[in-house]
Structures are given as C-alpha cells and as structure tokens.
Amino acid sequence: MTNIENPKVKIKARNMTVHYGDAQALHGIDLDLNANEVTALIGPSGCGKSTFLRCINRMNDVIDGCRVGGSLSIDEQDVYDAAVDVVELRARVGMVFQKPNPFPKSIYDNVAYGPRIHGMAQDRASLDALVERSLKRAGLWQEVKDRLSASGTSLSGGQQQRLCIARAIAVNPDIVLMDEPCSALDPIATAVIEELMEELRRDYTIVIVTHSMQQAARISQRTAYFHLGDLVEHGQTETIFTTPQHQQTEAYISGKIG
C-alpha cells in the first residue's frame, strides 16, 4: 500500500478552464491527483466533475465547441502538448462510463478490442491470455469463462459494467477514470465494483465521480469537492468528511445541497 502521507503525484492540473461555446464549465482548477490512490470527485450535478474527468483523457476534444485552457500533465508530461498523440494518451488513461456501454460484440471481442487496435498481442494465444487476465482482474472471469462468445450486451448491468472495466484495463493503462460507474447498478453489483476498485488501486490511479457520499467515503483516499465549476476543497477523504474547511462542502456532504 502506498504511503498516504507522501504519495507520488500522478496528475497535475493547473488553472484548467473549459468552455462549452460561451458557457464556462470550469473556472481554473488546480488539483493534484496521486498515483495508486482512488480520488473521488463529488459535487452537485452540473458542477463540472465529468468535464474535469474528460480533460484528463482529452475526451473533450470530440465535443463540438468545447475549448480547454490551462495545463494538465501526467507524470510531468503535458497532455495538451501539440506533440501528444491522443490515441496513445487514451491507451494510458482508461475510462469507464456512467452507463455500461459494451460494444455489440462478443465478450471476448469487447475485451480484445483495445489490445487489437493498439497491436498489443502478437498471436492468438497471448491475446487469449490477455483477455483472461483482464476479465479476472475485473472479477468477471468466473461468470463468463464458458460463454466468451456470447454478446457483451447479453450480460446483466453489473456484469456489463465490469466488462467495461475489463475492456479498459486490457490495454494496461496507468490511470482509470470512472464517471459515476455505479449509478445504473443495483446495490449488490455496486458492492462488487467497489471491492474491485480497492483491488485495482494497487496498479492504477483511479479517479471516480460519484454522487454517493457513502461510496466516496468507503473507497477513496482523497476527495475533491466541486461547486459550479470551481474546486472548493480537496484533501484526504477522512478530513473532508469529518472536518470540512468550507461551509459549502459541509452542506453538501450532510445533504443540505444536492
């Protein structure tokens, strides 16, 4: 386990601003995210959590009229540098979405998709091994090992979300971004995924957006509270939840604003 007192900074955002057309969604965010930790982004709807998350893997690039300012670096390397290859960046930064979005392909092909487009497996055997490893790490192997050729969309919601996690980690990223990964799932599937995150933290840096205070408290080491496009407060999860510095944060955590 990483030393929480003196962790290594993985992602460093400085004065990040995002505009959608004329509307400003982020007002200069400064935030450091540590390696091998789970960082929870919390805050009321529309405060810019997803927008910030999409800055990290440059998914904002594909949105029409979206402009990003400021700087964001991963391992001291500027993500918005003109020389950065977005394809490579996204192979290093995986993403899991709010709604499970398996491709309408077989379970196997879903997991193998990333490795295939990045040419990560030399032959069928190593691809098989990679798929198996990824499914195992996502805690799905036992349930699907006998029906790898079944369609990914035939799985239950919770299984689909774990399939998406397997798909994301199959390309062996450093960072996994999760945008409300459990909001479409039942409590049992949610518990499975929360356990999984504790497990994944050893190898990956995880950034998760969540609307559940309990979830943030259970799984994250650090928490950042956003409000109307501003980062209000961030720090160790325990501190944020027990002694928040800002009145706004306290109000949100105790359920007074949502």
Binding site: A91, F97, N101, F103, P104, Y113, T153
Partner: protein, 460 residues
C-alpha cells in the same frame, strides 16, 4: 332516398343524439344524486354511436352487395326472357340494359328484351332503395332508443365507447389484411389458370420469352413461348448494376452525413438527397434513355465497342441513382440510432474516428443497413419505367450489360397493354409473373425483417 341524403340524415341524427345524450345524463344524475361513472362526453358519444354505427355499416354493406344481387337478378330475368343467349351475348345484353336505364343508350339501339329488362331493373332499383331507407331509419331510431335506455349515472359509458373504437380499428385493419389476401388469392387463381395452358416447368425454366398468340390458327410461330428465365435474368442484372451504384454511394454518404458532416451541412444535404426520392421515375426514365444511354453508346463507339442504344447498363446506372436516397436515408437513420456512448467507449480506448466507425458503429448498425439494402432491392426489382425507357423490351438472355434486356415488370406491362382477351395465355402470364415477383419481394422483406429482429441490439 339517395345515399347522400341518407348520410346527411345519419350525421344529423348523430349530432342530435350526442347533445341529447349529454343533456339527458346530466338530468338523470342530478335526479339520482349519485356520482356519475363516466363524463358527459362519453354518454353523449355512446348514444350517438348507438344511433349511427349500425346504420352506417349497413349502408356501406348495401352499397357493396346490392349491385351484385341486382345483377344476378337481372341476369336471371334476361335468361328467362330469352333462354338461348350465349355467355357473351348475355354480357352485352346486361351492359345495354344498364346503359339504356341510365339514358346513355338511345332507344333506337334497343330491342324488346332490352326495354323489358330495363323496366325490370328500374323496379329492382327502386325496391332496393325503399328497402334500404326503411331499414336504415328503423335501425337508427332503434339504436337511438337502445342508447338512451342504457343511460344511467352508473352506466360505464367510457369503456363502452372504448370498445366501439377498438372494434372500428380492428375493422380497418381487417379490411387492409383482407384486401391483401384477396389480391394474393386472385393472383394465385389466375396463375393456376395460366398453368393449365402453359406447363409450370416451361414457365419457370424456359429460356425463351415471346408471348405472341396466334391471330389465326395456322399462323407460324403463333404458339408463343413463355419461358420466364430471360426476364428474371434481366431483372437480376439491372438490379445488380443498380445496387453496385447505390450501395457504396448511399452507404458512404450516410456515413459522411452522420459521422463527419457538421450539423449545418447535414441539415442541408440530407433533405437534398431525399429530394432524389421524390423525382418521378419517368423523369429518371427519360434521363436514362436520352442522356445516359446515348452517352454510353458514344463512349463505347470511341473505344471501338458496338453498343446498342438501349442497355442494361444505362437502366441499371440510373436506377442506382434513384435508389441512393433509400439506402442513404435509411442507413443514416440506423447509424444515428447507434448510441453515442458506444463511440465514446471506442474513443476512450484510443480508437481513431475511422476505426470507431468501421469496427463499432457499422457493425452495430449492420442489421439496419442490411434491411435497408434489401428494401432497396425490392424497390429496384419492382421498378418499371426506367427499364422500359432505357433497357428496352426485348427479352434477351444475356450476361452482357451492354445489350438490351427486359425485366419482369416491363413484360407485365407489355402483356396487358392493348386489347386483350381476359383468359388468353398472354394475359394470364402477367398474373404468373406478378405472383413470382410478389413471392420474391415478399421473401426479401421477410429476410429483412428477420435480420433486423434477430440481430437488433436493444439500446435503452
């Protein structure tokens, strides 16, 4: 009473019943001091439907059935008057009677038989009309009385009206289905009659098509040849050429419009392409005949090929252009229906846009695209105008797209234009061709439906 007068009366009665029913239920409820089950509107509608519904149906049925009955009775009458009329003479006599009755035929052209027949027919008509007026009046008043007798505060008028609407919808769809069945059955029966004259095998597998029928018994080559293979081969070749043009262009423009074009361009280009679908096919036909075919012939001449001025190629190319909007617009819809989350998922894994389209979007949209193509094929197979004008009417069995060929639909037209005996092999052949064509397009549509249902992903 005339039909239109009856109709007006019925509608008047309906309106009256509606308002009367509403007032009456109001009075009943006030007197009974209980909560009314259905709103006034439903009580009013119920009474109106009771008064008008059955008479309307009877009126319609009468309009459909009474001519048949009258004809049968008239024929019976004429037969009794002069028992030795032949079938053809009987037909002429009946037509004359009706023409004389309606005043279209001057008296000078009629005989005793026609005049007496006409008198009898007039009698029948007026009897029928009177019976109808009495029946409708009784039914309407009876219905009104029945409806009013039902009214009570706790009467469930709302579900009752619902049931009437239900039944009306059911009748409408029954009419649609029954007509279809009727058309198919008549196709089948006429086809069977055709196969009495021409063996099935000769029709399905014969290699030569020249449906000439002898004017005189001793005419040379008068038997006619009804081998349908050249027609189906021609149809298939032209359809194939059309698809070669339409599928790539239509599909690629759909992909461009839905994935690459910005919304403004899309807003202009999509309706623009769809306008192509609104151009009448006859316009495509003369475009093919007057511009494309001569152009092909001339460019063929330049490179030393002797091309006929009517060719499968010209027809196929233009038909392909006609089909483009079908494919592009249907495919565009299915591509747009692929959820954005799938594209995001692929992009987040580091796929480029074209990889995402080829590996994720298109496979997800494939069932819809396949069915779009199959529908376009049915459309191409059924197309007639372009082929008549650009590919000719000569039934050549050839694989050479530069030659003139003909298609099933064109030959159906050819068989039926001009004066025909209804039961000659030539006329009946049209039914056989029509039936086969129907079966082919039916099969295509069934396959299209199957593909869509079998492989459709449920995105919610």
């Amino acid at each position: 009473m005339s039909t239109s007068f009856l109709l007006i009366c019925l509608f008047g009665l309906g309106g009256f019943s509606y308002f009367f029913g509403r007032r009456r239920i109001g009075a009943l409820t006030r007197a009974a001091r209980v909560k009314q089950h259905s709103r006034d509107v439903y009580h009013g509608s119920f009474v109106a439907l009771c008064a008008v519904g059955v008479p309307l149906i009877v009126l319609l049925a009468w309009a459909g059935l009474s001519p048949l009955l009258l004809d049968a009775m008239l024929e019976d009458f004429l037969r009794r008057q002069s028992p030795d009329l032949s079938l053809g003479e009987m037909g002429v006599a009946m037509a004359k009677v009706k023409a004389y009755f309606s005043g279209a035929l001057p008296e000078a052209f009629t005989g005793e038989l026609i005049r007496s027949g006409s008198a009898y027919f007039a009698e029948l008509r007026s009897a029928s009309n009177q019976a109808r007026s009495v029946a409708i009046t009784l039914l309407a008043l009876g219905g009104l009385a029945f409806g009013l007798s039902k009214l009570a505060p706790r009467f469930t008028a709302r579900p009752a009206v619902e049931r009437v609407f239900n039944a009306a919808m059911m009748m409408a769809s029954a009419i649609a289905i029954l007509t279809t069945i009727g058309i198919v059955l008549s196709l089948i029966f006429e086809t069977l009659r055709f196969f009495d004259k021409v063996p099935v095998m000769d029709f399905l597998f014969g290699l030569s098509w020249s449906p000439q029928i002898a004017m005189r018994a001793d005419q040379i080559g008068g038997a006619g040849a009804f081998g349908a293979i050249p027609l189906f081969a021609g149809t298939m070749m032209i359809t194939f050429i059309a698809m070669l043009v339409a599928v790539p262009i239509g599909l690629m423009s759909a992909i461009y419009l839905s994935e690459y074009a910005n919304p403004r361009l899309r807003g202009i280009a999509k309706p623009g392409i769809e306008i192509l679908a609104g151009v009448p096919t006859v316009v495509y036909g003369f475009f093919a005949a007057l511009m494309v075919a001569p152009f092909l012939r001339d460019s063929g001449a330049d490179i030393g090929l002797a091309l006929s001025s009517e060719s499968a190629l010209a027809a196929g190319l233009v038909m392909g252009i006609m089909i483009i909007p079908f494919i592009s617009s249907l495919s565009d819809d299915v591509i747009n229906a692929v959820p954005q989350t799938l594209r995001d998922g692929a992009a987040a894994l580091g796929a480029t846009q074209s990889e995402t389209i080829r590996q994720v979007v298109l496979p997800a949209a494939l069932p819809g695209i396949v069915s779009a193509i199959l529908l376009a094929i049915s459309r191409a197979i059924g197309e007639t105008m372009i082929v008549v004008m650009a590919a000719g009417v000569a039934a050549n069995l050839t694989a050479n797209p530069f030659e003139s060929v003909t298609t099933v639909t064109v030959q159906i037209v050819m068989l039926l234009v001009g004066d025909q005996e209804f039961d000659s092999a030539k006329t009946l052949a049209a039914f056989a061709l029509g039936l086969v064509l129907f079966l082919i397009t039916l099969m295509l549509n069934v396959v299209a439906l199957y593909v869509v249902n079998r492989f459709r992903e449920q995105y919610d």
